[in-house]
């Protein structure tokens, strides 16, 4: 079952879609989320969030001042300032 990921910043939704894996940098190190991860609320450090899509493409987003919440395969990256760094071909 894929993860449902959304990256939101204070004034708009930056990206949303399904993904296989998500890697983010929290205050105490990198965290990797796969399907079936336990519910987590983590504070993010300034850094990149890497989202690996089902087809293997990678979407990268920069997040600043934010947190990450995971529950029932729904991952929300919330940051005051968030933007996509680089979107590979098929990603929207």
């Amino acid at each position: 079952m894929p993860l449902t990921v959304s990256v939101v910043s204070a004034d708009h939704e930056v990206w949303s879609g399904e993904a296989k894996q998500l890697v983010a940098k929290t205050m105490i190190g990198e965290i990797g989320i796969l399907s079936g991860h336990e519910p987590v609320l983590a504070i993010l450090d300034v850094g990149e969030v890497r989202i690996t899509l089902e087809d293997g493409n990678v979407v990268k987003a920069r997040a600043e001042d934010g947190f990450l919440s995971v529950e029932h395969d729904i991952v929300t990256v919330v940051a005051r300032n968030a933007e996509l760094v680089h979107t590979d071909t098929a990603a929207r």
Partner: protein, 299 residues
């Protein structure tokens, strides 16, 4: 042309010019409401996510945090008022200032000292005119609020809140803003921002009512420390966006009724002008007839 007729024509022209201006302002406001509403909608996912996270924290941890604890005695309360930078918006600013005035009076009667924080030029003008002290204010960008401003306001208020009252800190923070209900209705709203009441006055966290048992990283206290200011900020940002949308809606309504009034004036004056012209013609005819009669009777 008779003097009266000239006066009427002048008034018609003046009303027509005014109508052109108010009509243009109405159209501009209408297009801006759309944009402002879209921004309110666009900020939805963020505030929902933040609210949900804070609710999860509040319901699954019994930790006390400075931002959520009720102070034993409230000595000083702060009121943050969201007005607009520009007028011509009907009762928009008057409403919110009146509401804030009532709130201040109530807090005073409870023996609390009240300090004011203002957003928007109109509130500042109001306070300056009455020589009331302003703690701090933010101007510019009320039409199109920025997240950075919300962040700054949030920071200021939280810092002030965390100070003990003896050092000039505040024990309570209220916000007063116009909530956008619909294009026709905007109601002034008073919300107590701090100490936080997460359970009350917040959007429900959605269809799944039972929140999962979260793991916190690094730990509950740190997450709480980081989240609560973000939550406050998102509340402030939301108030700013609502206020902006309300302002545009109020402007549109005010300008529409101004255009309608101009229409009515033009109609009334046209009638009067027609009347004046007709009576002028009648008078001229009777003068000619009278003159012809006089000439005929001389012969």
């Amino acid at each position: 042309m008779g003097a009266q007729l000239r006066v009427y024509r002048q008034k018609i022209r003046s009303a027509q010019t005014t109508k052109k201006i108010t009509k243009a302002m109405e159209l501009i406001a209408a297009s801006r409401i759309q944009k402002a509403q879209q921004r309110v909608a666009a900020s939805g996912p963020y505030s929902r996510a933040v609210t949900r996270a804070v609710s999860a924290l509040a319901s699954y941890s019994n930790v006390d945090h400075a931002l959520t604890t009720e102070p034993e005695k409230v000595e000083r309360a702060a009121i943050l008022i969201f007005s607009s930078d520009r007028g011509l918006a009907g009762a928009f600013n008057a409403n919110v200032l009146k509401e804030a005035g009532e709130l201040a009076a109530r807090l005073h009667s409870e023996g609390k000292e009240v300090v004011h924080y203002l957003v928007g030029r109109k509130a500042i003008a109001y306070f300056n005119f009455r020589k009331r002290p302003i703690e701090k204010y933010w101007v510019g960008g009320t039409d199109n609020p920025e997240v950075e401003t919300a962040h700054e306001i949030g920071d200021t208020l939280v810092t002030r809140f965390l100070q003990p009252a003896s050092e000039g800190g505040v024990d309570e923070i209220h916000i007063v803003y116009n909530r956008f209900v619909s294009m026709l209705t905007q109601t002034p709203e008073v919300v107590r921002l701090l100490p936080l009441e997460v359970v009350e006055g917040v959007e429900e966290p959605g269809d799944r009512t039972v929140l999962p048992l979260y793991e916190f990283e690094p730990d509950v206290d740190d997450v709480l420390d980081a989240l609560l200011p973000v939550y406050i900020e998102s509340r402030i940002f939301n108030a700013m966006l609502q206020s902006a949308a309300s302002k545009h809606a109020a402007t549109q309504k005010a300008m529409k009724s101004a255009s309608d009034n101009a229409d009515k004036l033009i109609k009334d004056y046209t009638r009067l002008a027609n009347n004046a012209r007709q009576s002028e013609i009648t008078q001229q005819i009777s003068e000619i007839v009278g003159g012809a009669d006089a000439l005929a009777s001389v012969k």
